[in-house]
């Protein structure tokens, strides 16, 4: 077990709680907009940590870059998706909670 491998595993473990918080937010937060906040931000940091961690574990530059490519793809997908859902929701008259 190399030092880099241990750091990688630690990053993977550190990424998972962000998904748990994302789900918690999905269930607990009061309206569509705040749920979007919780999901978009949490899941992507979680995915980023897992990708980086697995990349370090693999010890290969190519695999790490490929994992980072998947991360960037998901970043684009969720940033655009969250924006699309939020803008359409407001345009269709979904009122934000507490306003």
């Amino acid at each position: 077990m190399t030092v880099v491998g241990v750091i990688g595993a630690a990053l993977v473990v550190a990424g998972v709680p962000f998904f748990l918080f994302g789900t918690l937010g999905l269930l607990r937060l009061p309206d569509t907009y705040s749920r979007l906040h919780a999901l978009a931000k949490g899941d992507n940091v979680g995915l980023g940590l897992v990708c980086l961690g697995l990349g370090l574990q693999s010890g290969s530059v190519l695999v790490t870059l490929k994992l980072l490519m998947i991360w960037v793809l998901m970043l684009i997908a969720s940033a655009t998706g969250a924006g699309l859902i939020a803008r359409t929701a407001l345009a269709r008259g979904v009122k934000p909670h507490g306003l």
Binding site: M1, G5, A9, V12, V13, G15, V16, F19, L20, G22, T23, L26, L27, P30, D31, T32, R35, L36, L39, D43, N44, G46, L47, V50, C51, L54, Q57, S58, V63, K66, L67, M69, I70, L73, M74, I76, A77, S78, T80, G81, L84, I85, T88, A89, R92, G93, V94, K95, H97
Partner: protein, 99 residues
């Protein structure tokens, strides 16, 4: 190390199961789509963890396809499915899954 990744994959799988509650309770179509988006992120992470835990690199490509599809899913939902539904009129978010 592989056992650790398998355990994390199971944790994330349970996490998505909990997220199903949001699909059942809605109340807006957007909320259900949000939960689906959370599933796609989790699917990517679970695939990546399984790829490394079971040492099957092709699963990384499966994760890549999931990442690409998640972008398409949101766009399709917003541009097609949501527009076909009736406009949202209620603003109260705590009425549970009555629709």
């Amino acid at each position: 190390m592989n056992e650790l990744f398998l355990i994390l994959a199971v944790v994330l799988l349970l996490n998505t199961t909990v997220g199903l509650v949001r699909i059942l309770s809605g109340p807006h179509p957007a909320d259900r789509m949000l939960a689906a988006e959370m599933f796609s992120t989790s699917a990517v992470v679970i695939m990546l963890l399984l790829a490394f835990a079971t040492d099957r690199p092709p699963l990384v490509d499966v994760a890549l396809v999931f990442a690409l599809l998640s972008a398409l899913a949101v766009v399709t939902f917003v541009s097609r499915a949501w527009s076909a539904l009736k406009p949202t009129t209620d603003t109260d978010d705590h009425d549970g899954g009555n629709r």
